[in-house]
């Protein structure tokens, strides 16, 4: 009946039901637009953002540390014999370093982050939705989209790159340990070799794309949670579908972003 601005619409309970893929994409797009409409408007909820960044960091720190180390170790163990076969063993630190910085570090961290965080956000907001806590906030004249959604998306977007940088270092350390298992190499020599072959053009796009991945995790988790319906069952579904959808989107966007980077900064 009355025309509704997007801004007003966010105060409404989202009355969507379907889990249809295209509706999900449509909903995520709408959510993204609402995010940008709200993120620049005060109040900025800085305390909430900081709180969520702390929580997300602490939640994922142990698992990304372990994964990063193992991935670095394993990829080196796998690469080493291949390079030996081609007589290119000297390139080991460099080639492993490039794989980790450009691709493995960012994507593995993002996927782990998606598994841990977007399911958590989906479940948390989903249970707030079905127990009417979001409605309560809304009738309490607080904008729940801003308070619950914008803060979490923001926190995800900025914590993932930080985690990624950390994971890259841990993975390189894992790589060094793997090198040590088969040959003697000083740490200085190893890091020197990595630094020599990994260029700025490798590191920047690798880390830059994690902002996008973090944003995806935040948007998908909050969207699924915020629009959850059907009681506890809906909460479970919000949690699991968040992981699936955000993981797929991360991989799709990775493909697109890699293509764009290669086009902008061709590697010789």
């Amino acid at each position: 009946m009355k025309s509704q601005s997007l801004q007003e619409k966010i105060y409404r309970s989202f009355e969507k039901k379907s889990n249809n893929f295209f509706e999900t994409i449509g909903g995520l797009t709408e959510f993204t637009i609402l995010f940008f409409k709200n993120v620049f408007k005060p109040p900025y909820e800085v305390d909430q953002i900081r709180k969520h960044m702390d929580i997300l960091g602490i939640q994922t720190f142990p698992i990304v540390s372990l994964t990063g180390f193992i991935i670095g170790l394993v990829i080196t163990m796998q690469t080493q014999p291949v390079l030996v076969r081609f007589g290119a063993e000297a390139f080991l630190p460099g080639s492993v370093g490039i794989s980790i910085v450009r691709e493995l570090g960012p994507v593995i961290t993002a996927l782990i982050f998606a598994g841990r965080v977007s399911s958590g956000i989906g479940a948390e907001l989903g249970s707030m939705r079905v127990t009417e806590q979001i409605d309560a906030m809304e009738v309490g004249a607080v904008n729940p989209f801003k308070y619950l959604v914008v803060t979490r998306i923001f926190a995800c977007t900025f914590i993932l790159p930080i985690l990624t940088v950390y994971v890259i270092f841990i993975a390189l350390f894992g790589a060094y340990v793997a090198v040590l298992l088969v040959q003697n190499m000083s740490f200085d020599y190893f890091t020197g070799a990595v630094i020599k072959s990994v260029e700025f053009g490798d590191a920047i796009p690798g880390i830059a794309k994690t902002f996008v991945f973090g944003f995806i995790v935040g948007v998908v988790g909050t969207y699924k949670g915020y629009t959850a319906t059907n009681g506890t069952e809906g909460v479970g579904r919000a949690s699991t579908t968040s992981v699936v959808v955000s993981s797929i989107l991360i991989l799709i966007f990775d493909m697109i972003l890699v293509k764009i980077t290669l086009w902008l900064w061709p590697t010789i």
């Binding site: 009946m1 009355k2 509704q4 801004q7 007003e8 105060y11 409404r12 309970s13 009355e15 948390e124 249970s127 707030m128 127990t131 009417e132 806590q133 409605d135 309560a136 906030m137 809304e138 009738v139 309490g140 004249a141 607080v142």
Partner: protein, 248 residues
């Protein structure tokens, strides 16, 4: 005080509210009866625009709710309290956090004044000792009390209750009903209470209406409704199961 005119709401092809009209006078306690799933919660949610009705008008304190922009709507909402069926306490916050939240967001009180306000409402609902508990550690009745405390902490002029006693044992249900009535008198609020608990209604109601088939079917004071000879009302209020149901 509250005037609802021809309010309609459907979900898909399911018509839940069919041109409901209703008037609530100032300082009145109006009970809305209705069976489960008749749209009582939908009615309350349309009044505060948690849901957007398909048609009709709601006017509160003389303001046309459906025509308000979001800022004006929020201003109006600050003069209203809503007790949700499951209390809807924020489960990431303690009781203190729950009560402080509306004050932090919507008042200019100093921390000291807020603390006093919190103590004061907790005393009103007789749960001073629960101040540092988390919602998960509270019983159903305690949750309702805290939900009530949170709703009245901003001193609303209009209170909406969604099944305040459902799911509670009879004694707790009576206590909550009595508490609602006492607060009502003390704070001179207008209230709309949605319920199917007859005892609760008998304690609280000044006037009652029956929602059925998407429409307000009966209006009257509580004894009129409960002693009515109408087969539907008889079936609703009587202890015995009456086979023949009055209406479809």
């Amino acid at each position: 005080m509250v005037i609802i005119e021809k309010l309609s709401k459907s979900f898909g092809s399911h018509l839940v509210l069919d041109e409901v009209s209703l008037k609530v006078e100032e300082a009145e306690n109006l009970v809305v009866f209705g069976r489960s799933g008749t749209g009582k919660s939908v009615l309350l949610k349309c009044i505060v625009r948690l849901m957007e009705p398909d048609g009709g008008n709601v006017s509160i304190f003389g303001k046309d709710v459906m025509g308000l922009g979001i800022d004006e709507l929020n201003e109006l909402r600050q003069q209203m309290g809503f007790l949700f069926q499951g209390a809807a306490l924020y489960d990431s916050m303690s009781v203190r956090g729950n009560l402080d939240f509306p004050l932090i967001r919507n008042s200019h009180l100093t921390p000291k004044e807020r603390e006093m306000r919190i103590k004061d409402v907790l005393e009103k609902v007789s749960l001073e000792e629960a101040i540092d508990k988390m919602p998960a550690d509270l019983s159903g009745g305690m949750k309702k009390r805290i939900g009530l405390a949170r709703a009245i902490i901003t001193e609303p002029k209009l209170m909406l209750y969604d099944e305040p006693t459902t799911g509670l044992d009879p004694i707790t249900a009576k206590e909550i009903s009595k508490l609602i009535l006492d607060l009502q008198k003390e704070l001179k609020m207008t209230s709309v209470i949605v319920t199917h608990d007859i005892l609760c209604a008998k304690i609280i109601a000044d006037r009652a209406v029956m929602l059925e088939d998407g429409k307000i079917q009966y209006t009257g004071d509580i004894t009129e409704l409960t002693t009515s000879k109408d087969p539907f009302l008889k079936n609703f209020f009587s202890d015995e199961l009456i086979e023949e149901i009055g209406r479809k």
